[in-house]
């Protein structure tokens, strides 16, 4: 829960007002309307109470704001507060706020409050001259109050009436009236200005009420109101003076121009006003009702509920409306007493002021939300509201009607079969009622230790780079070996073709009777063929190697043939000359058949 105070401004001039808000957040228990003690140097009014409740995921938070309007009535540094506020039966202190009240400075006073510039009688003058030449008999302002003696909070009307013999335009207030000690309600200008004509001391005057305001005195005493000054522009059409001048000019004739418009002059004029005095009486103590909260005027009170029959948990809106004449802004709506079996939320306050009939009147509607917690018949009790009727000079107490409420039980709970076992209960969410930090750890996890981040260790990065490098090397090696194997397969597949070509070459050599070359070529063809087939160099080809690499399905016959061929070849190479053509032909055919047969074995 927290309580805060805030003021709308920390520096203000005499007679100005500030708003003091007391903000109570998340209060537990009901908050009673704080009563402000008399604050030195201020008159105070309650401006109402607003409450905001939000429920999010079942967790509710609330904020209550009590607003007060304070009107400064003496100069100096002022301390507002501290106050006490009663929440749920306990008294809480509200912090004090310091503000400074300065004496009214004219700079701010002209910008303060509304200055009404009324519809022009003539177009705004291009150049205004000082209005010394317009006498105070030609134009003047009278200020008057409708009453000399009033009660505190009884309205007194201050009227400004302008009297003029000249064509004049009201330009608004040069200096605003000083209304220290009063709550001011200005009447709208269009309702106030009425033009009439009046003969005064033998002269005809145009008379208009330029401003009307209702003043509600805030405290007893004798008050003098400095009513300020009024600005106006005045148009003077002094035909004779200029006509006589021009009639004797050197041209000897009258001016050809229409003199009325040519010679009209516009002056700006500041018109002082009279001070007015009013005696403010304290309200009589005799017959003051107990619940009187300072309302003065003439009021009525109404109340209503939006539903008379509801189910448990359904909100009902209870409205109290106070309407009538008087300073409705400061009227306090009587509070609803505590009602058992209901949750009560003060929800809203709205004030509607109308000044159309030249009296301050209006209504204030306070809405309260009631949520019934239990079924049954209930009555919203009557609320009493007392006020001082200043016309009859008596206190009056009025009441709202009481309202009957019929609360029905909510939706029927689902029927459950009663079994001897476990009776199901209505389950409620486990709700968190308070928020706090969780408890300390009593066991230390020795592994959860602050360590230097790995990414700051060069070794970590070196390791990663090493891994990447290693995987690239492996990938590269794998790829290269695949290439080598592919080469081998290519060699094996092309071996027959190469051998055939070589055999053909040998055959041609045989026809030329070149023994030596024939055997050399034959050797190349046969050893080259087996070398290609086995994927080795031709020097390392041997029968044993072929025997090792030969698949098991090969017949031993072919191995014998290969052996015989190899023998023939080595013999032929070393004793080529001894061999005849027959021999060469035999070797050739032998090689041819061995290669053809071997090809079959491999391909099988």
């Amino acid at each position: 829960m927290s309580i805060e105070t805030s003021v709308s401004r920390s520096q203000l001039a005499m007679g100005e007002q500030l708003t003091l808000d007391i903000i109570i957040s998340n209060a537990e228990g009901s908050i009673s309307q704080p009563t402000l003690p008399p604050i030195d140097g201020f008159s105070s009014y309650s401006q109402g109470h607003s409450q905001e409740i939000s429920i999010i995921n079942g967790r509710s938070s609330s904020q209550s704001i009590f607003s007060y309007v304070l009107i400064a009535n003496s100069v100096g540094k002022k301390i507002i507060g501290p106050f006490e506020i009663n929440i749920g039966g306990k008294a809480f202190k509200v912090a004090a706020v310091e503000v400074e009240v300065i004496s009214d400075n004219p700079m701010s006073s002209s910008s303060r409050g509304p200055s009404y510039a009324q519809g022009p009688v003539v177009a705004p003058p291009p150049r205004a001259m000082p209005g010394d030449e317009v006498s105070n008999q030609d134009i003047f302002v009278k200020t008057w109050l409708d009453k000399d003696e009033v009660y505190v909070n009884e309205p007194v009307t201050l009227t400004y009436t302008i009297y003029t013999r000249l064509s004049a335009t009201y330009k608004g207030f040069e200096k605003e009236p000083v209304t220290t000690g009063f709550w001011v309600e200005d009447f709208p200008p269009d309702k106030t200005i009425k033009r009439t004509e009046q003969v005064l001391n033998g002269s005809r005057y145009v008379v208009a009420d330029i401003r009307k305001m209702s003043l509600f005195p805030t405290e007893p005493g004798v008050f003098t109101i400095d009513t300020g000054t009024v600005g106006a522009t005045v148009e003077v059409r002094n035909e004779q003076r200029f006509d006589s001048f021009f009639s004797s000019n050197i041209f000897g004739r009258r001016s050809p121009f229409p003199s009325t418009s040519f010679f009209s002059q516009v002056f700006s004029k500041i018109i002082p006003t009279d001070k007015v005095m009013v005696v403010v009486k304290a309200l009589p103590e005799v017959g003051k009702p107990a619940g009187f909260s300072g309302a003065v005027g003439d009021y009525r009170i109404e109340s209503s509920v939006d539903k008379r029959e509801v189910e448990v948990g359904t909100p009902i809106t209870y409205k109290v409306r106070i309407l009538g004449e008087g300073n409705i802004n400061t009227v306090q709506t009587p509070a609803l007493p505590k009602m058992e079996n209901f949750k009560i939320y003060d929800s809203s306050n709205s004030v509607n002021i109308s000044k159309n009939r030249l009296v301050v009147e209006g209504d204030k509607v306070t809405e309260t939300v009631l949520v019934p917690k239990k079924a049954g018949n209930y009555t919203i009790p009557e609320l009493e509201f007392s006020y001082f009727d200043h016309k009859a000079k008596v206190y009056k107490t009025i009441k709202t009607a009481s309202h009957l409420l019929l609360v029905k039980p909510g939706a029927e709970p689902e029927e459950t079969v009663v079994s001897p076992g476990v009776q199901p209960v209505e389950q409620a969410e486990v709700s968190v009622t308070g928020k706090d930090i969780r408890y300390i750890k009593t066991v230390e996890d020795p592994n959860a230790v602050a360590v230097k981040p790995l990414y700051k260790e060069p070794l970590y990065w070196a390791f990663n780079v090493l891994l990447i490098a290693a995987s690239f090397i492996f990938m590269f090696l794998t790829a290269r070996r695949t290439n080598v194997k592919d080469n081998k397969a290519l060699r094996s597949r092309g071996s027959h073709r190469v051998a055939k070509a070589k055999l053909r070459k040998a055959s041609s050599l045989m026809k030329q009777d070149k023994h030596e070359e024939f055997f050399s070529e034959m050797s190349k063809a046969v050893y080259g063929y087996f070398a290609d087939k086995l994927g080795v160099s031709s020097q390392s080809v041997s029968v044993e190697l072929i025997e090792q690499r030969l698949p098991g399905n090969a017949s031993p016959e072919i191995l014998n043939q290969i052996k015989a061929l190899f023998d023939e070849l080595s013999m032929g190479r070393f004793a080529a000359l001894q061999k005849g053509d027959e021999e060469m032909k035999r070797v050739y055919e032998m090689a041819d058949s061995v290669i053809t047969d071997f090809e079959k074995v491999k391909s099988r």
Binding site: I437, A448, A450, Y455, N464, L467, R481
Partner: protein, 249 residues
Amino acid sequence: MKIKLFAALILGLLLSKQLIAANLSPWTEANTKYQSGSFKAAIDFYESILKTGKETAALDYNLGNAYFRLGHRGKALVFYERALKISPRNDDIRWNIDIVKSAVADRIEPNNEGLIVSGIRKITDPLTINELSMILSGILILFTTMAFIAFIFPVFRPFIHGAGILVVFVFLAAVVLFAFKWVEVKDPRVVILDKEVEARYGPSSRETKAFTLHEGAEATVADETQDWFYVALENKSSGWVPKKACEII
């Protein structure tokens, strides 16, 4: 006579304290102090462990709790954040951080981040940078092993070929996560300890005020001078704050 008695008393007290300290570990001692509500004493013990021994998540967490109980929310947040750095998956730490932050006067909300960024954050938040580093290296080790197997046993090559592509993608994802986390942690962060501190446009109290920070506000350090930190908030505003007003997490 009186003085002697007094001195004896003090001596006795000191001795007894030492005796207790000898009997119980400072950790148990600190927890007992916390339990009995003497948070100042608990902090002294915890700090003494911090000076001599290892900084564990539990130690930081308990220190944060003790500072919180004394009302030093900024200090509490510093220790909670340190604890969270060590154990990012601990719910208690997160809960307490949320509690502290809910009481911070400044509402610093990050600029709206996209779906992808928040998605990545969801993955990286419960992991420490070291865990991410290890995941990264782990994937590399896996990849290297696979390349090695493919080299040694050609039979597995077709399987490894497919798996390898998958691993490469996983590796790239891990790199993104790592980079994201690294950006988060590379600059030190500070917590404001003073009740209120003015951030200025330059590292001097003569410079224009930029904004006001309150106790518990967190910011990233972008630069520093001898006495000032240049801090950047989550909402991208930045300013210089005096070093003595804050503490590095």
